[in-house]
């Protein structure tokens, strides 16, 4: 067999924190042949991105390669000079970042950024490269391929940007592309389009790729072989089908098992019972544009209503209407059968206390300068008027409830907690007001699957103990399946379907629900192929069929 395109041997990488160098990657090996796709999977902190960047000879600030070699086509990128590396980067090795929206320069048009690589590397002229760019946009099924490149990044949607970034990576026809979680930030329906486009184009040009993701079902569609990482160590590596059907290591098996959590069904609501929260024909607007149209649904005591939809479908706006941050233009909100003032400033303390929120980004939702005790203590004091010892006792009880040892965590700052622990603090803060109803806004989206599962289980436990009602905003249907009792599907600010979970996951569906459901990747390597066949390729992209 010929020499592999990329050969990583005994790679050790360190990161600096508090003036000392700590290992991030502990002696990982990787071989990649021409035209082959390897999937790197693992939780956050496993070192996937670090390896991805290192295979370009690149490390972020405060990170260094301490040992090992990264040989790309005979050149060791660890020892190569900066100029030698620059000659390869962009030209023979390209990178597709997680967030295309953040990785395109907001100051330049897409096409100018697309042609920059070929022109700077003297691969082709600006005119040739522009023409090629339009062709690539067409192949990636971008709408208006002739015109879209001449827009600024903020004028193009996330899914389209991600495809434009793949096109940009292709501009010099590289031998290797690093895909760093390219679809993580996208909605399921958009994700499929991007996955299919990426796979097509990688196959067409016989490009080798490293595909980094934490989503097993996604990697199953994309990769020829899979390498599982845990805290900088390789757990195991094998070809995709073997890995899915017969994982050897316990850790891999535990990753596979996450998707199976599902709380038992609850008895259905007694007809005629007063719902805890009732959204009544709400229409709301930002400025003069209506973004919610006639939204109505009920949330009953002790039950979880999942509100599902793509970004921009009005899920979070509905939450803002319920909390009174955005007073509806038409319609109103009832709580225990009583109409609430539309604006939160006119609700009394009791009304405010009853509805609490938990946010998606626990990082930004916690004040970094306040200790955990202060963060949770504040609503305890504000709503329950507890002070001194009583307050401390209440905070301790809350910490115990979210399964964190009070004495250990009371004086910590948010920066000393992991992502999952921060989210638990967010839950404790919401519980501090002793509410009846909690809005969970994408609370598990930013978390790894194992951690997310822990949070879901905690929320389910709290619901059983305290009889809480949840409104669970999410775009992840696996989460819906795991935790919800009822489902509300939203699209373009309207409710397109609602009902009991069992009904929702069984046909017949509203066509949009069907699209959402069928777009969730499954752990079957043939899933994407089958789906594409079923839908017909034309349905996937919103542009013309591949002309080549």
């Amino acid at each position: 067999m010929s020499e592999p395109l990329l050969k990583i041997r005994n790679l050790w990488i360190e990161g600096r924190s508090d003036e000392t160098w700590n290992p991030i990657i502990n002696g990982v090996d990787l071989d990649l042949n021409r035209g082959e796709v390897v999937g790197l999977i693992g939780e956050s902190g496993a070192g996937k991105s670090t390896i991805g960047l290192a295979s370009m000879g690149f490390t972020r600030d405060g990170v260094r390669i301490s040992e090992g070699s990264v040989v790309f086509d005979g050149v060791d990128l660890v020892t190569a000079s900066a100029a030698d590396k620059r000659a390869l980067l962009g030209k023979r090795i390209a990178y597709v970042a997680q967030s295309a929206a953040a990785s395109f320069n907001p100051a330049h048009k897409l096409m100018d950024q697309h042609t920059e690589g070929p022109v700077q590397h003297s691969v082709s002229s600006k005119a040739e490269s522009t023409e090629d760019g339009i062709e690539l946009y067409r192949r990636l099924r971008l709408p208006n391929p002739e015109e879209i490149g001449f827009r600024y990044p903020h004028q193009v949607s996330g899914g389209q940007l991600q495809r434009a970034m793949t096109a940009m990576a292709m501009a010099c026809r590289p031998d290797l592309i690093i895909f760093d979680e390219p679809t993580t930030a996208l909605d399921v329906t958009t994700q499929i389009e991007v996955l299919a486009s990426i796979r097509d184009i990688v196959e067409q040009f016989d490009t080798a790729a490293i595909y980094i993701t934490h989503d097993l079902a996604v990697v199953a569609q994309m990769a020829d072989k899979i390498k599982v990482l845990l805290k900088g160590d390789e757990v195991e590596e094998s070809d995709t089908r073997t890995m899915l059907s017969a994982p050897k290591e316990e850790y891999t098996k535990s990753l596979w098992a996450v998707r199976s959590f599902e709380r038992p069904a609850k008895p259905s609501v007694i007809t005629g019972a007063t719902p805890v929260v009732s959204v009544k024909t709400v229409t709301a607007a930002y400025g003069t544009t209506d973004v919610l149209h006639d939204v109505s649904f009920d949330i009953h005591e002790g039950r979880t209503v999942a509100v599902v939809g793509e970004s921009g479908s009005g899920k979070s706006t509905t939450a803002r209407c319920i909390t009174g941050l955005l007073p509806p233009r038409i319609g109103h909100i009832e709580f225990d059968g009583m109409q609430l003032p539309l604006d939160y400033r006119r609700r009394d303390k009791m009304q405010l206390r009853q509805a609490q929120m938990i946010y998606q980004m626990a990082d930004t939702a916690l004040n970094p300068r306040k200790t955990i005790g202060e963060t949770i203590g504040r609503p305890v004091e504000f709503y329950l008027r507890l002070k001194g010892k009583e307050k401390r006792a209440k905070v301790d009880a809350l910490l115990a409830e979210i399964e964190l040892e009070p004495t250990e965590y009371f004086n910590r700052l948010p920066s000393e907690l992991s992502g999952g622990q921060k989210q638990r603090i967010g839950i404790a803060r919401a519980l501090a007001a002793e509410p009846k109803f909690i809005i969970c806004d994408e609370v598990t989206s930013a978390l790894d699957q194992l951690v997310a599962e822990g949070i879901l289980k905690l929320l389910a436990k709290l619901q059983d103990q305290l009889g809480l009602s949840y409104m669970f905003i999410t775009h992840d249907l696996a989460t819906v399946r795991a935790i919800s009792d009822e489902v509300v599907v939203m699209k373009d600010g309207k409710v397109v379907e609602q009902g009991e979970k069992a009904e929702m996951f069984q046909p017949p569906h509203h066509p949009y629900t069907d699209l959402l459901l069928s777009s969730v990747p499954e752990m079957d390597p043939d899933w994407l192929d089958d789906l594409l066949k079923e839908r017909g390729v034309d349905n996937i992209g919103d542009a013309a069929v591949d002309k080549m």
């Binding site: 390209a94 953040a102 395109f104 320069n105 907001p106």
Partner: protein, 325 residues
């Protein structure tokens, strides 16, 4: 449009503050000109003649009304001569405040223009270079140099420059007494020393802001992307970081340009440069209130105008605001 209105409102408020502040100065023109031995009768006579005994609100509004028409009044010093000698014929020669200020303002703007033409490109270039070679000896020495320049009082820098560039090596004249009708090159040579002094005073802030604004962006994903495309470090900074760092840089440049017009008092005095700053100092000395007020008003207008321009330029530099969805 809204910004323009806001600017006008600010100017109005400032005009009130100026008026109140100037009138709160101890002593008045009459006392200043007649000296300590003046009899109360004489002081009152002059006050009456100049309308200084009217109440403040009336005086404010008559001044404001004049200012809006572009008539900032007659300098008290001029009015006094006309009154004292009873030679009403001189009245035709009496210069107005506007006549007195305009040539001075032109000189100051010329000095500011020359300083800006040197300092802005210098500061931005140095900012880019220090960002590119950050934490190297070059970066550190530039920072130390510009910081020492900004930390030293201007008159000190001015005298140092005079010592080295006028006395020890007579390259430029130490007195910048320019006058109308002078050749441009001569004017420029004579303006050089005050311009260099001002350059040293303003460069540091602009340079450091450019450096900080660029470095601030270096951790952003699109800069990482640019580097991963194999672009040269210079191109990454100039083409990818700088356009996104423009807004804060423009703001600081505007503030410093405003300083070039309004903060020149000391420098003009040191170099005997016939600009508005010197006129301002002289007028304060003799309590020539109309001139002092007019100078203040012009300073305020320059500040507001430059900040307005900076706001507009920041908007233009941002494609998100230039091309809405």
């Amino acid at each position: 449009m809204q910004r323009l209105l806001l600017g006008l409102v600010t100017l109005f408020v400032v005009s009130i503050i100026i008026f109140v502040a100037v009138n709160a100065l101890p002593g008045d023109f009459a006392e200043a000109i007649l000296g300590q031995g003046a009899t109360p009768e004489a002081v009152n006579a002059i006050r009456e003649q100049l309308g200084l005994n009217q109440n403040a609100v009336t005086r404010y509004f008559s001044w404001l009304a004049g200012a809006i028409r572009g008539d900032l009044g007659v300098p008290l010093s001029q009015a006094l001569f006309a009154g004292n000698f009873g030679t009403t014929a001189v009245g035709t020669d009496v210069t107005t405040v506007v006549d007195q200020i305009i040539p001075r303002l032109k000189n100051t703007l010329f000095l500011a223009g020359v300083s800006a033409a040197i300092s802005v490109p210098l500061a931005v270039t140095l900012g880019v270079l220090t960002a590119l070679y950050r934490n190297t000896a070059f970066d550190k020495s530039m920072n130390v140099t510009t910081l020492s320049a900004i930390s030293s009082p201007e008159f000190f820098i001015a005298y140092i420059l005079i010592l080295f560039l006028a006395v020890l090596n007579p390259v430029f004249p130490s007195l910048s007494n320019i006058f109308p009708g002078m050749e441009f090159s001569e004017r420029l040579t004579r303006t050089m020393l005050p311009a260099l002094t001002l350059t040293l005073a303003v460069t540091a802030q602009m340079m450091r802001m450019t450096r900080a604004a660029i470095i601030n962006l270096l951790a952003s994903p699109y800069i990482e992307m640019a580097r991963l495309k194999g672009l040269s470090p210079m191109r990454v900074i100039v083409k990818h970081a700088l356009p996104n760092a423009l807004a804060p840089i423009i703001t600081v440049i505007a503030l410093n340009l405003a300083f070039l017009v309004t903060g020149v008092v000391v420098v003009e005095v040191v170099f005997v440069y016939p600009g508005i700053g010197q006129l301002f100092v002289d007028s304060v000395k003799i309590r020539d209130i109309p001139v002092v007020q007019a100078c203040c008003l012009i300073f305020a207008a320059v500040y507001i105008l430059l900040n307005l321009t900076a706001d507009i330029l920041s908007i233009i530099s941002n494609p998100r605001l230039r091309h809405p969805k």
